[in-house]
Symmetry: C3
Amino acid sequence: MFVRDAWYTAAWGDEVSENPLGRRICNEPIVFFRDQRGKVAALEDRCCHRGLPLHLGTVVEQGLQCGYHGLVYDRTGRCVYIPAQDQIPERAKVRSYSVQERDQLVWVWIGDPSKADETKPPDFAYHNDTANWPHKHAVLHINANYVLLLDNLMDATHVGYVHSKTIGGDPLAFVRAKEKLTRNPNGLTLTSWLLDSTPPPTYVKAVGFEGKIDRWLERQYIAPGSVLLWTGAVNAGMGAYENNRREGGFSLRMFNGLTPETETTSFYFWSAANGYQQNEPQATEQLFAEVESTFAEDKSVIEAQQKRLTEFGDAGRVDITTDRTQLAMRRIIERMLAGSAAGVTLDVA
Amino acid sequence: MFVRDAWYTAAWGDEVSENPLGRRICNEPIVFFRDQRGKVAALEDRCCHRGLPLHLGTVVEQGLQCGYHGLVYDRTGRCVYIPAQDQIPERAKVRSYSVQERDQLVWVWIGDPSKADETKPPDFAYHNDTANWPHKHAVLHINANYVLLLDNLMDATHVGYVHSKTIGGDPLAFVRAKEKLTRNPNGLTLTSWLLDSTPPPTYVKAVGFEGKIDRWLERQYIAPGSVLLWTGAVNAGMGAYENNRREGGFSLRMFNGLTPETETTSFYFWSAANGYQQNEPQATEQLFAEVESTFAEDKSVIEAQQKRLTEFGDAGRVDITTDRTQLAMRRIIERMLAGSAAGVTLDVA
Amino acid sequence: MFVRDAWYTAAWGDEVSENPLGRRICNEPIVFFRDQRGKVAALEDRCCHRGLPLHLGTVVEQGLQCGYHGLVYDRTGRCVYIPAQDQIPERAKVRSYSVQERDQLVWVWIGDPSKADETKPPDFAYHNDTANWPHKHAVLHINANYVLLLDNLMDATHVGYVHSKTIGGDPLAFVRAKEKLTRNPNGLTLTSWLLDSTPPPTYVKAVGFEGKIDRWLERQYIAPGSVLLWTGAVNAGMGAYENNRREGGFSLRMFNGLTPETETTSFYFWSAANGYQQNEPQATEQLFAEVESTFAEDKSVIEAQQKRLTEFGDAGRVDITTDRTQLAMRRIIERMLAGSAAGVTLDVA
């Protein structure tokens, strides 16, 4: 069961070209393509004639042409050409999906198209600000439900255990972090401060911290699948926390788009933007590589977790104190599933 | 659900030796072997003792010996030897299948054996006429129902789209072809003429056409799974169509045997016989290689189609004008499934 | 359906270290680890918090720490530490399993722990007697139910067919062997003598027999999954059978522990102990290699058999005279399944 009336990250803009891209989202096979005017379109990935996936077809003047018998669909999904036939039956059509391309991302609306215009996908203008936030991006395929990935992103307490060799540092520093959780119209914001803490290996590698640091993680969750993250650190004792002064240390921003493929598989779109050595492309590459290896650690944990969940469900599970944010996030998703709009008053403060 | 009272291509004759061959047909595991007198036999591929597949056994004087505990079965499936036991229980037997070997092919009858003698497998004597029709053959495993392969073989309109780089040429030439569909006692014959058309790359490669051609495809469908094909071309304007003069150009014959393995997988037995440069073995090899790469294109299309069919069935599908032959063929199969004999009067003329 | 109130071989002792081992037994995921005092423990392989398999965790002072959020379990499965939380909920626990380590093997009791102490795993002290019985061991994963493996081990008549190239020799020698089947409190003992028989290639390779041999196989089946085997041969005509004199030839002992992973997969723990050239490590290595290739032959037969069993069950199966021992063994397992203790009077003599 998926939240359907919602924008999901569907692709990076540079993944969608005149070479059609087939991708399953919320268990619906969809073909994404860029038409001859450069505009992204999304159709049901199944020809209404003999069922061939349309991603095996070709972009033509009028839209997308099936690779089996040459039927052409326009961007609304209407069949506009059938070889050897003047009359095109009313029934000859496929579903079309609302799409938007912005900030280098393609978003898709899975549910009722009439509701798509009432809302818009999250902003992430940093993707366009290459002077201040040079970035690199990727997409991972994960064998787990997307909510398990959200749990992971919104929870700092796993960092000390899962990422002890990369960004972990002292496990208890995360557990003892000063946390502030606020409700937003469409999600949550969670800010964590690890004051006077030991810098993790990644941070030292990046900017050469020599002593303790004040480190922050700021995550904005926008339901159902986006997490905008800003994290970084400065030398401890400079008043970073008290005066909100975060310049002169290590800082990065990440876009995280979690999109269900099926109930047990997901796409994870992510970017890492370098906010500390903007003029050194090598630093951006290194940052990307470090985050990438961190995600490989999360992926193996989450996929192992999904296997147990598939087999046993929630039988015998207990929650712990630090699950507070996850539980708040899951309540938002449950309400959306129950048909209520996102952004209702939340009891999570 | 399969048509069971029918002859299916089971193997090429040269695949069946004293080294037993296990092959699943109509979802029944069958072992084919050549007995010590050189005669092909077919038994249920499962020993009645402990269930070992008999294709792991050995051909012996009396028949086929199981590789686990040495039980021997004769070609009727009766157990004729059990080590350390004089008495052989009445129940010790496996199913046997009617088989015929002819024209280098092995055919099997899956259903009621008492009906096997009333009918016979299709003739294809060209396989034996190596002077006029030197050929090469193969078998492909396809992850799709065999009827999707029949659809493909009986439909020329896909050629321009699926095979644009090999035998395709101008897509609309196929759509506008002169077609004649006739009913046979056991199937259909479809003749298509592409007059004054551009020769496809394969044809030019083979015999060096310089101008337009008159090209024909003649396909005889014999239910449930055989398609005998004769195709070729001569220089345009020589009266090939009007006077049925087809000498002096490019010509090939193909046997196509489509056999269900399961509901969603099939075997495709095919041969390509060179009718234009009979004394040049290299031409036969080249012909085979060209057809083989054409089939690789069909295979990827048909397997993608099967995936959607498995997921969505026929929901929302529409037929188009050029499906006429396919629909006639499918009606024959449906009647056979419903228990009526093939060859009843068809309303397809 | 598995016999649950029983000891199963779970691992070789050298497989269990502070690096936790995840292994599914009787379809239950279990984590085995050696605690900091060197004692083996076994817990449910699923954290009660978020379901992560505990085999991804770390052995710590108090027990096993989950690799996701740091919960620690002691060897009884009680959660004894949750970061950032003083109070540990009563419900925070996982199942623990009774384990025993002896004779280089780790045994696990799957069912009701209160019954574990009433019985003990089979003895196999030869594993510790490296002077007289130097050995090498391994574990195989088999895609078949464990009882099919037991059938195979307790049946000598397959040897002539499945192992004709290794230990087979004359098939009928096994069929005609003098057999004695005796009942034990917890299983069966089967002794077979092949008098005046041709030595198989393996035996000749090992000790260079030049003439006929008197060969024995002694197998003690201990329900549900252990087979202790002693086999060997001496020159024929020395009175080996009549006077039970078995010195001076070829002799080996094997431990065989068959453990269900799922209904259709198993673990096969085995060792081969050299009782004929104890001071030549190379002879032990060669023995191991020979047995290993013999098992590869059994594995392919048994896995093929399982496929047919999965598809067709027992439909149409017949038993033969030489199945007597197998049937007796299966009756013991069926009685255990029905809840009766092993070792009741058996009607197999």
